[in-house]
Amino acid sequence: MEQLIALVVAFPLASALLVQLVARRQGDHASRISITFSTLTAVLAGLLLWLKLSGQATTQINLFGSWGLLLFDPLSTLMMLVIALISLIVHVYSRRYMAQEPGYARFFVLLDLMTACLLLMVSAGDLLTLLIAWHLIGILLYFLLGQDMRSHSAHRYAFWTLITYRIGDIPLVLAAGLLVYVYGTGSLPDLFAQISSQPEQQLFMGLPVLDIVAGLIAFAAFARSAQFLLHTWLPYSMAGPTPVSALMHAGIVNAGGFLINRFAPVFVHAGDILHWVFVVGLFTAVIGSVLMLTQNDIKKSLGYSTMGQMGFMVMECGVGAFSLAIYHLIAHGLFKGTLFLGAGGVIHAARRDDGVPKNDLYTFVVERQPTRQRQPWLLMAAITLVVPVTILIISHWLVSQDYFQKQGAVVLLFFGWITGAQLIFATYRMRSQNIKRLIGMSTFSFAVVVLGYTLISHAFDLFLYPDEVFRAQIYSAAAVDIFWFDIMIVLITAIIILGWFLAYYADQSRRKEVVPSNLWMTFYALISRELYLQDVYSRLSRMLLSGAARLNAWLRWV
């Protein structure tokens, strides 16, 4: 039955070929073929996941001689279903959305090819197949973003995406080459078996090979998942059609999280790299969120929102919560995909009626203005801290005893709960005058979020990493010294408390005329211009181009 995995990849390929063949005769109806095949792919992917959940052993199938291996394992089956479902939704949406666009059949061909490549990437069982899929995704995304062949601007931004992806390909090819060179095999199951038996392999000058490989893989993941300094393509890639934005933000950009999970057996032996992954993820999450708040272009704002989410996902990997990252990428994929696909309808509706509710909730969430005080701050602060900590202890007591070992996940949940709590309190505060009801609703929300998140994380852990020893190894690799762990917790708490004070101060001084300081204005200018990174990169590329032109002229163009 596991042979079906080849069919899951083959269906979108067959669809692409068929659509191309009948496009001239069938015209717009070509999309029906594509949707039919997408449905079949999703059904088949669902069947495979069900097979895996019902206890079928992890196996692999070989399409060619020494490569072309497809894995039938928990990660590949889960990711295949996610991709197939998102792709199906995007296909169905595109059928009418793209109807008036030129190159209608070409769009479905590219969409099918992209689906096939994504499915191939998540099921690749050897390095070469993974590299092929990884590389092709970048190329196909370029053409999907540049679907409008008349638009120079769409292609300019698609080009940025492609170049960033190609930069990200470099470390992945190097990592693959190093693994093949040191362990003598490209098959992932064989490779991981060898890594677990000889993790101490050294490279030139006595460098630990797994640290280098893990660093390179992390770099490749950073480029694909728009981590800081490699993120500039993401907010500018909105010039493509909406379904492509949905597919990109819901599926393609998450590839970094998948890649780190796929190479978990490498990262288990590279704890230092995981700490760097955490730092990069944290930095990206903060910068992405700050940039999102200061953009006045809604599309760019959405792009930076994705960047922040990707930072959070990478941060989860950095603290050893690998399976949480997979849950996060699925949840974010569904959420962001819905947001993009719903955007057109919202804009259309807003043309008739802006529907903007002029109430406190709107001004707080959308206009980001502090709300009027109705309930005591101190009580809110106490509940925010006490309730999650209590629930954290209870939930871990019920689910797993060794939560101190999973300190990374604790940091994340703590961070997530407290930031989430701010919004929950603010939202409820504005709607409720009854203090008992407010506390009851807030506590219930916390309980649902915390217990749900913990249970889901536990379920994902059990499914993706059934080996208990390996699960413990991941957390142990990501573990930090208890001193630094405590410092981190105290620091996060201090930042949150400072945030409360700032919000309180902003609320109190709302009626006063406050002139922003020069430092604040400089900071705002820096952030609103996206740290000038886009300008720096444009300048660099122009310099490279003019250098090449000068060289050509100097060498008489031969």
């Binding site: 020494s66 092929i132 590389h135 062949m149 292609h155 170049i163 090449a548 032109a549 050509n552």
Partner: protein, 258 residues
């Protein structure tokens, strides 16, 4: 004998500055059949010359020079605005890398001739496609008439796929050659493997720039004032089949090489 063969081989598997000769010849040749022949035969002659050597090729500075030549022409290609000139630069950049294969094996192997063919064939297809555009407009410059996708959609499709084949996109032959070369080079030096990947990045950059200048944009100016004839459907399918054959062939070569 060997001392004479090396410079000659450096001419046919172009090494800078001997590479300038090939590029001059290629730029001055107006007959597309001669260009096609040059692209097919030139590297094969180089490999044939190397197989005449009495001692195995084991000169490390040649490896550095080959990498330099390849990087130089890959970098220069990003500013090339004429299709044939771009083809000349890319062929130089691609063929120079054949030296690295030879240095790894000591002598040219039959598989290496296939690698060279895999580098050349997409360039041949590109030359033929370029001739189609040249016949319509007199020259194949980027950003001159723009929007070929509007006026010649079938030719544009073939052009896009062919350029992708030249710049070593999977599943075309050059991709497998490059992967194999990078993997082999890693056993010698991390820095030269990194340089190979940067060269590959420059190919992608220049290829996409070329396509953007030729294919993207609204059909305007010269394009609107002429009676443009696109390639026919059977010819477009012919190109597609040739490229599919090329990919299938590269998969077979990959299996042989393993």
């Amino acid at each position: 004998m060997d001392s004479l063969l090396y410079p000659l081989a450096g001419l046919f598997l172009p090494l800078f500055p001997l590479s300038m000769l090939f590029n001059t010849l290629f730029a001055r040749t107006r007959q597309y059949l001669v260009r096609t022949l040059l692209l097919l035969v030139w590297p094969q002659l180089g490999l044939a010359l190397l197989s005449l050597l009495t001692a195995p090729v084991d000169i490390q500075w040649l490896s550095a020079l080959a990498l330099f030549t390849s990087a130089l022409y890959a970098y220069r290609a990003i500013a090339a605005r004429e299709l044939n000139q771009w083809s000349g630069y890319l062929s130089t950049s691609l063929w120079a890398l054949l030296w690295l294969f030879v240095i790894h094996t000591g002598k040219p192997t039959p598989t290496l001739h296939l690698h060279a063919l895999g580098f050349s064939l997409p360039l041949v297809l590109l030359t033929i496609l370029g001739r189609n555009v040249e016949k319509q407009f007199g020259a194949v410059y980027t950003d001159l008439y723009g929007g070929l996708a509007q006026s010649m959609p079938r030719l544009s499709g073939a052009l896009i796929l062919t350029v992708l084949a030249v710049i070593a996109t999977p599943l075309f032959p050059a991709f497998f050659s490059m992967t194999q070369l990078v993997f082999a080079e890693l056993s010698v030096s991390l820095s030269s493997a990194l340089l190979l990947l940067i060269i590959w990045l420059f190919w992608s950059w220049s290829g996409i720039r070329l396509l953007q200048g030729l294919v993207i944009g609204s059909a305007a100016g010269v394009t609107l004032s002429r009676d443009i004839r696109d390639i026919s459907v059977p010819v477009a399918w012919g190109y597609a089949l040739l490229l599919i054959t090329l990919s299938t062939g590269s998969l077979l070569i990959m299996e042989i090489a393993q």
